[in-house]
């Protein structure tokens, strides 16, 4: 038997997000090559992500495609298709977020015709925590907060609201009925994230949606 002491400690030094980040970079390059601008839409369940996308579908029409992330069902993809856009449903089967590999896999199966498409919107799984750590290859990360959720949510979920480029406050039509302080929400978001841009909308009534869509379009046109 060998008496020599074998070094038992083995260096790994690898970022756990490395694999996701590589796929995200690949997605970003692929979409850039096709001239498609990409959004990652994150919110809690029920904040109105799909309704915002339906409203955007009226503005962008077939120029926009949507990847829907949900634990289960094709319901959201069906709503988007009905609104006139190509949609691909990812059913995560339990995972609480989308990752860049799942998005790549979806894109591989979609028909992303760069002659028609300008915009790819990815609706993440409804969750304010887990999606924040996963770069999907998007150009713009949008955090959606709705009036019924309360104006104090931003500081409770800093890992998301500190990493978004745009804050969209939705369901503004409910403002007269609820104690939501818009200025407080914006101020607290800016305290974590000084460069964040803010839009106030009601996807249901259409209030503020044209301004928001104009802004999205101005980023790539």
């Amino acid at each position: 038997m060998c008496d020599e002491i074998i070094e038992q400690k083995i260096d790994i030094t690898t970022s756990v997000m490395n694999k996701n980040d590589l796929f995200a970079a690949e997605n970003r390059g692929f979409l850039k090559g096709k001239g498609i601008y990409t959004l990652n839409l994150i919110s809690s369940p029920g904040a109105g992500k799909t309704t915002v996308l339906e409203s955007m579908a009226h503005y962008f029409g077939s120029r926009m495609a949507v990847i829907e992330g949900d634990i289960q069902t094709r319901r959201d993809a069906e709503r988007i298709e009905k609104a006139g856009c190509q949609a691909w449903q990812i059913e995560t089967g339990g995972a609480c977020h989308l990752d860049a590999h799942a998005v790549k896999h979806a894109m591989d199966q979609m028909e992303l015709d760069s002659d028609i498409l300008e915009l790819l919107a990815i609706e993440n799984v409804g969750n304010l925590i887990c999606p924040s750590g996963y770069d999907l290859g998007e150009n713009l990360r949008i955090g959606l907060l709705s009036v019924p959720e309360g104006d104090d949510k931003i500081l409770k979920y800093p890992s998301l609201f500190s990493t978004i480029n745009v804050l969209v406050i939705n369901k503004m039509d409910l403002l007269p009925h609820l104690d939501f302080d818009v200025d407080r929400a914006i101020e607290e978001c800016r305290s974590l994230n000084p460069d964040v841009l803010v839009f106030t909308v009601s996807a249901k009534t259409g209030e503020g949606m044209e301004e928001f869509c104009d802004f999205v379009e101005s980023n790539y046109s």
Partner: protein, 115 residues
Amino acid sequence: MHELSLAHDMTRIIGNVLGRKVHLDRVNITVGPLSGISPESLRFCFTEIAKIEGFGEPELVINQTRAKLICLDCDTEYEAEDFYQGCPDCGSLSRKILSGREFTVDSVELEEGED
């Protein structure tokens, strides 16, 4: 509970580097305070996943770092343990994050008899 996915990713990384599955004595990782990861939740998930994936029952040693930030109002560089710790000089939360989101598998230690 994305810690479950992350625990899977950790065992995949370790398996790739080692080229095989062996029983581990210890796994050393670094988790930044702005990474959005709950260390205790990760420990719970990793313990189970490591066992299922054939790496035995290693101790997970978590090096919890402090975030490095620079105040955008008064340029003070400071360290923080979470998102809510503002600038020690002026109290502002407006800052640029220099580090704190890191999450790495640093090294593993093999169980005696494994080589």
